[in-house]
């Protein structure tokens, strides 16, 4: 049953574009944004003149090394002389951008909106991980000298303990996603690897090895979003934004059960309710759960209610989430395979569902017929859940 939501108009995605995802790109952040926008507009058969509003997203400014990075990107994103806003929820930003673009259009305020996400992580030296030192609480956490991977390792360890999963079970996600990425033209970390390769890669913070993690990336992604009447004029196959959900939990991640992401579930419930989805595990045909780490995909599959808590790792073993499986997840190759330019990575997931629902994903097209898809991102200190449901 759909909720009685007061929106002025239905909203659709009508075009998508993206740059290569790579460890080091020559292009500046604004050039990357411009390249992605240009491709998205070309795909929609539009020019910048047809666009009313711009929503941008980029994660911590410290990566690009420029404060007010949203404004810095604005002209590259096509925002010169137009209403531009930037949204930010850490890693959740990539999916928050099209959510914000949705309300720009659904409210009737803008007829066409560009949703643009960019990230350039490579300039930070000696390693971008160092920049993450500044997201920790200065009073209680920084004095302990943490590395960002600690928090993921702690969550992964708790998931393993609570759910009885082993490292080799979780490594299968990395094998699947890096394999899927072999068919993605923008992919940075596509590879045919085995579980042993993951287990034998550099041990960073047990239980996390090098190949359990997505790479450091530069890249940008853009979507063109339009209200129904305009969308139907632009294309015969618009992909509708049917549900959006977003929530934040508190910053005290060490005061919560780490084995289950309730903030993702809250956001998912909000999005499913709006989309009229009552049994997501049956009604969703294809999903792009956020996978900066391999266990995170399992965690998020469970938060999205596509599997019961603690059961996603068993289903991965059965091939349930493969591209030709019952419920394909991360058919793009995900962050593990395509790359992880933070905000752009989340928007890449939305673009993938868009291409899947238009049957335009080429070799990556999932085998089953698709009607509804979900993309999700997560961000901040185990806090932010952002979810978008699309339908064709």
């Amino acid at each position: 049953m759909r909720v009685n939501l007061h929106v002025k108009d239905r909203v659709a995605i009508v075009g998508a574009g993206m740059t290569l995802f790579r460890r080091r790109l020559l292009e500046t952040p604004r050039e990357l944004a411009w390249e992605a926008v240009r491709q998205a507009l070309d795909e929609a058969g539009l020019t910048l003149r047809d666009i009313d509003c711009i929503v941008t997203g980029t994660a911590p400014d410290a990566f690009d090394g420029v404060h007010f990075n949203g404004e810095y990107l604005a002209d590259g994103a096509g925002g010169f002389g137009k209403p531009v806003s930037r949204v930010y929820v850490g890693g959740g930003t990539g999916v928050m951008v099209p959510i914000a673009a949705w309300w720009h259009a659904a409210s009737g305020h803008c007829d066409t909106v560009l949703a643009v996400a960019e990230e350039k992580m490579s300039p930070a030296m000696p390693h971008p991980q160092y920049v993450f030192a500044y997201i920790w609480d200065p009073i209680l956490e920084r004095p302990l000298g943490p590395n960002l991977i600690w928090i993921f390792a702690m969550e992964m360890r708790r998931y393993m303990y609570k759910c009885g999963a082993k490292k080799e079970d979780i490594a299968l996600v990395s094998v699947k996603n890096k394999g899927n990425a072999l068919d993605h033209p923008a992919a940075q970390a596509a590879a045919k690897i085995t579980v042993e390769d993951v287990l034998n890669s550099e041990l960073l913070v047990w239980p996390v090895n090098r190949l359990d993690i997505s790479p450091v990336s530069d890249g940008a992604v853009a979507l063109v979003i339009a209200r129904e009447k305009t969308a139907r004029r632009i294309t015969d196959s618009p992909v509708w934004i049917e549900g959006v959900g977003f929530t934040l939990d508190n910053t005290h991640w060490y005061n919560r059960e780490l084995a289950y992401p309730r903030y993702v579930q809250y956001a998912a419930r909000m999005a499913y309710r709006m989309a009229g989805i009552e049994r997501p595990w049956k009604e969703i045909d294809v999903a792009e759960p956020y996978d900066p780490f391999d266990y995170k995909e399992l965690h998020h599959i469970e938060g999205l209610m596509l599997a019961r808590p603690c059961e996603a790792w068993k289903l991965v073993k059965e091939g349930y989430f493969d591209r030709d499986g019952e419920l394909p997840t991360s058919p793009s190759g995900g962050l593990l395979g395509v790359g992880n330019p933070i905000a752009a990575a989340g928007l890449m997931k939305v673009a993938e569902i868009f291409w899947q629902l238009r049957y335009e994903a080429g070799k990556r097209q999932v085998r089953k017929p698709v009607h509804k898809g979900v993309a999700q991102a997560w961000g901040d200190l185990m806090q932010a859940g952002t979810v978008i449901v699309l339908g064709n």
Binding site: L20, P143, L144, G145, Y161, L258
Partner: protein, 184 residues
């Protein structure tokens, strides 16, 4: 159906590290920013407690939740949390990991064990989603014990620095160590 698939020819110019170094006009820049953080209403008192060898929490007068680390207000009720409680400091390990890398991703000489401690606090069921707890180092256990799972659920207590070395910091607790004779 296009067999090629979208995206078509994604743009971008990949650089190897040495290509980047050879580019004209490369800028090397190191920001210099210094901060002096105040700990705030609730944490200042908590840190003073640490200096005295006590772990303090606050109780919400409306819903009864006990917060460690303390907050000035209840996150659920938004009511001021005025009632302070002293905890025994003991607890169980919620999760534990072995770190081989430092903050800047350089390899550590000696691996470090860190985790989340679920503290003994009134008002929380054993399996509740929320709990009073701290993120800290764990000592007195081996990496092998972390890996074989025997550390999770282990009863631990704080190992305090000697009083004269305490400064009112989270590091006044050196680490959490197993309670001798404590059950698993």
């Amino acid at each position: 159906m296009a067999s090629e698939g979208k995206p078509v020819n994604p743009p971008g110019t990949y650089l190897k590290r040495q290509d980047l170094e050879r580019l004209p006009g490369i800028i090397r820049y190191k920001p210099s920013a210094r901060y002096l953080f105040a700990a705030g209403q609730a944490l200042s008192r908590f840190l003073k407690g640490l200096k005295e060898g006590k772990i303090l929490g606050v109780r919400c007068p409306v819903c009864g939740r006990v917060y460690v680390p303390p907050r000035a207000y209840c996150e659920y009720c938004h009511a001021p949390t005025s009632e302070w409680v002293e905890l025994p400091g003991t607890g169980v390990v919620h999760t534990a990991v072995v770190s081989y890398i430092a903050t800047d991703r350089s390899r550590m000489e000696k691996p470090e064990i860190v985790g989340v401690i679920r503290l003994d606090a009134p008002g929380y069921r054993e399996d509740s989603y929320e709990f009073a707890g701290l993120f800290h180092k764990i000592c007195g256990v081996t990496p092998e014990q972390v890996m074989d799972g025997s550390v999770i659920g282990m009863r631990v207590k704080p190992r305090w620095k000697p009083p004269e070395e305490r400064t009112g910091s989270i590091t006044d607790i050196e680490c959490f160590e197993p309670v001798e004779g404590g059950e698993q």
